[in-house]
């Protein structure tokens, strides 16, 4: 399941969808808008995507991770639009037979996503705004 959407997600719903009878471990990562980033107070965060390409890149990444770590299923939901501190931005959920693969797969996915998927984050502070460059 790959989604680039304005809508929020339920982790429970996603986990239900990706589990199967071989699943022993499900690892999920939720990225959240922090109130503060590098010492500056965040008022708003905007997330922009080249949507069709982002879905394509995420699908490729999913295929790659499935094979590399022998996973059972992967879901990635990345939100776009305007957000406030505390809002969910991204969900990566990985179902695997055992926990080591599930952890390794989830961490790989978020690391790679931040390098290659056409998504851009703008942080709006009290006193200005910046386009964040490079995942951190």
């Amino acid at each position: 399941m790959i989604l680039v959407t304005e809508d929020d997600f339920s982790v429970d719903d996603v986990l239900k969808k990706i589990r199967n009878e071989r699943t022993g471990a499900v690892v999920s990562f939720v990225g959240v808008v922090r109130e503060e980033d590098r010492g500056r107070k965040v008022r708003k965060m905007e997330m922009e995507a080249y949507k069709d390409m982002a879905v394509g890149e995420l699908s490729n990444l999913r295929e790659k991770a499935m094979k590399k770590f022998g996973l059972e299923e992967i879901a990635i939901i990345h939100r776009v639009g305007s957000f406030s501190p505390g809002d969910n931005i991204v969900l990566i959920a990985v179902a695997a037979g055992h926990r080591k693969e599930a952890f390794a797969g989830a961490e790989y996915l978020i690391d790679e996503m931040k390098k290659i998927v056409p998504l851009w984050k703008k942080e709006i502070f009290e006193d200005g705004e910046i386009w964040v460059e490079g995942g951190h």
Binding site: K114, P118, W120, W131, H136
Partner: protein, 81 residues
């Protein structure tokens, strides 16, 4: 040939637009298109970093030869997640 160009994030703000359609000589490469765009949008031209771009939703190198109807996108360094 006609090439559709999409500008994202900081490049969209720098170019002052999110889309453009360019008429290029047949056989032009992505590199030639990027030079053309830097001429039209001087603030893009003043960027010191090389511009990453996609053609038809895949990352592409500057020597890729474009064809009529291609969709090119200018992609600032990504920061998802």
């Amino acid at each position: 040939m006609k090439i559709k160009v999409k500008f994202f994030a900081s490049y969209r703000e720098i170019a002052g637009r999110s889309e453009a359609v360019l008429d290029l000589t047949d056989g032009s490469s992505l590199g030639i298109l990027l030079e053309d765009l830097k001429g039209r949008y001087p603030k893009l031209g003043s960027l010191t970093d090389s511009i990453i771009a996609s053609v038809n939703k895949r990352y592409a190198k500057e020597d890729l030869v474009l064809k009529d109807g291609d969709e090119v996108a200018l992609l600032p360094p990504v920061s998802g997640g």
